[in-house]
């Protein structure tokens, strides 16, 4: 076992270091983080739009008029529905920053390139007509949100790579001495920016040409990336097996004391985030929620008390610990654990590199993924409604809010805490006994 843990440490450290140093992956992670505060703000309005209190909707309609829900949804549209647009800027900005080139200019160029990849038409079905017609002159809101997230990822990287390639080769318009630096800086972006726009424009023209000739079913860059990238990634992130594999990797990294959620998150977060948003759109439309594996599924229902669902372990320490060390640690970890932070437990117990406690730590999240999935897919428990509450929201409150106000969400969290409690119980007892013995023999030596 110790050999295995040493193996984890030796193998995972370089892997994690490499992944963290990988500029595109970390730009992706940091860029998408830019959308998170906005999405959480949008969620506040979402919660107030759909409070599950009997008579609430009627009351709101009486007080604020019959269009109250539409008006309450304005901020939701400007936050959730702009996720892709904001990511197009954020990812390019962060990537440029890592390359040490002008970040805000790269962000702006990427934003323009993203919009260039988007046809400015919106389907509209006039009254009495059977088919929708395309109305020109409007930016389609649907493609600015999670539907455009993968396009934003591809375009922002493509545009920043082109930008960097040209700037680093010094192919820029040079201004004579005496021109203010700010002025000449604005010209530096001209050539690379022009090339970026040219490339995306030509790609779009080519796709439209091939579509018109009947070679391609896809009519836009959005269509192509949606099928090529969104499809397979969606399967990976939306399936039970895919989620279990992702979590096995996360837990292995954490077992070696490395921040697995942060390391694997770069790859999985965009997928889980777009699942969140798909659910949000269905939730607002009053339709059945399509996804179970959203960001909140993991943050709220699996990582209760922090990664590894250590809330159950903290309760054990607080009320059932015999050794002084575990009692003290229980007191120290109760506060952070309530807000889903568990570094004191992970490093203080320690769970990290501890052959005994690593077993329940690794197993519990996998078990919880399966039980929560079963409860949600059978309809026993409400699915996460696409409401993004902060991951630090305390248990029970989190489950209630994330499901759009269903008690079953809070009950699911309670059940998961109980499951985690019993999975940790035998291993904790053994560990606690060892610590107690250690303390006793240390006490005797002193006497």
């Amino acid at each position: 076992m110790n050999k295995f843990l040493a193996f984890l440490e030796n193998r995972f450290m370089p892997f994690a270091a490499k992944l963290a140093a990988q500029k595109h992956l970390s730009a992706l992670k940091d860029g998408i983080i830019l959308t998170m505060p906005l999405i959480i703000i949008g969620s506040v309005f979402l919660i107030f739009g759909y409070l599950p209190i009997p008579g609430y909707a009627d009351f709101m309609a009486r007080v604020f008029g019959e269009h109250w829900l539409t008006k309450l949804s304005y901020p939701v549209d400007a936050t959730f529905n702009m996720m892709g647009l904001i990511a197009a800027f954020g990812i390019a900005y962060r990537l440029a920053e890592k390359y040490g080139i002008d970040a805000i200019t790269s962000g702006a160029i990427s934003l323009a390139a993203f919009l260039l990849a988007t046809p400015f038409t919106v389907p509209f079905t006039p009254e009495g007509a059977s088919a929708a017609v395309d109305v020109a002159g409007a930016i389609p809101v649907a493609l600015m949100g999670s539907k455009g997230l993968f396009v934003a990822m591809v375009i922002s990287m493509l545009s920043t790579e082109i930008y960097r390639w040209i700037v680093q080769r010094d192919i820029v318009i040079k201004m004579p001495d005496g021109v203010p630096p700010a002025v000449s800086k604005s010209f530096v972006a001209l050539i690379p920016g022009f090339v970026v726009i040219l490339v995306v424009w030509l790609i779009r023209l080519l796709i439209e040409y091939l579509h018109a000739k009947g070679f391609f079913e896809a009519a836009s860059i959005h269509d192509i990336i949606g099928t090529v990238l969104g499809g397979p990634l969606g399967v990976l992130g939306s399936s039970l097996i895919g989620s279990i594999i992702a979590y096995m990797l996360i837990m292995m990294l954490w077992s070696a004391g490395l921040h697995g959620t942060n390391i694997v998150g770069g790859v999985m977060n965009p997928i889980w985030l777009s699942n969140t948003d798909e659910n949000r759109i269905a939730f607002q439309a009053g339709k059945e929620l399509p996804n179970i594996f959203t960001s909140q599924f993991f943050e709220i229902f699996i990582n209760i008390g922090g990664t590894g669902a250590t809330f159950g372990l903290v309760i054990l320490m607080l009320f059932w610990a015999k050794s002084k060390q575990m009692k003290e640690l229980g007191k120290l970890s109760a506060g952070p654990g309530t807000f889903m932070i568990n570094e004191p437990v992970i490093f203080g117990t320690p769970i990290v590199m501890n052959p005994l406690l690593v077993i329940p730590f690794f197993l519990t999240p996998i078990v919880l993924i399966v039980t929560t999935y079963l409860a949600m897919s059978t309809g026993l428990v409400a699915r996460p409604a696409g409401i993004a509450i902060p991951w630090t929201t305390p248990p029970l409150i989190g489950g209630y809010l994330a499901t759009g106000g269903h008690l079953s969400g809070a009950i699911m969290q309670l059940v998961n805490i109980v499951i985690a409690f019993f999975l940790y119980l035998p291993f904790f007892k053994l560990w606690d006994k060892m610590k107690k013995k250690e303390e006793e023999s240390a006490g005797q030596e002193q006497q």
Binding site: M13, W254, P344, F347, P350, V352
Partner: protein, 101 residues
């Protein structure tokens, strides 16, 4: 002395900050201690005399050491047990040893 701590989101390390401040106050040691996320370190490293990483982000140690080398400040990761038990006194001692030698 300015001590900068860093972890993934700067949250769990902020817990350690309060313990370290308390330990510093007890021995009357003048210092400023604060926690940042790994991404934000580059914006704060200029005002730091030492950078300490939470053990869960020690995979960043290579990169951070390079960054610290450019600024001429010591960088190291915190002992996991001291980190987990929020042992402010020990971590403070460690930070001082890195700076003062």
């Amino acid at each position: 002395m300015n001590i900068l701590l860093c972890c993934a989101a700067g949250m769990s390390t902020s817990l350690l900050v309060t313990k370290m401040e308390k330990a510093a106050a007890e021995i009357g040691f003048e210092c400023k201690i604060w926690a940042e996320s790994a991404d934000a370190v580059k914006n704060h490293i200029d005002s730091a005399d030492v950078l300490l990483l939470g053990p869960q982000v020690r995979y960043l140690l290579g990169n951070m050491k390079k960054l610290g080398g450019e600024k001429g400040i010591p960088v190291d990761s915190i002992n996991p047990v001291h980190y987990g038990t929020c042992n402010g006194a020990e971590v403070l001692k460690f930070a001082r040893k890195l700076v003062e030698g």
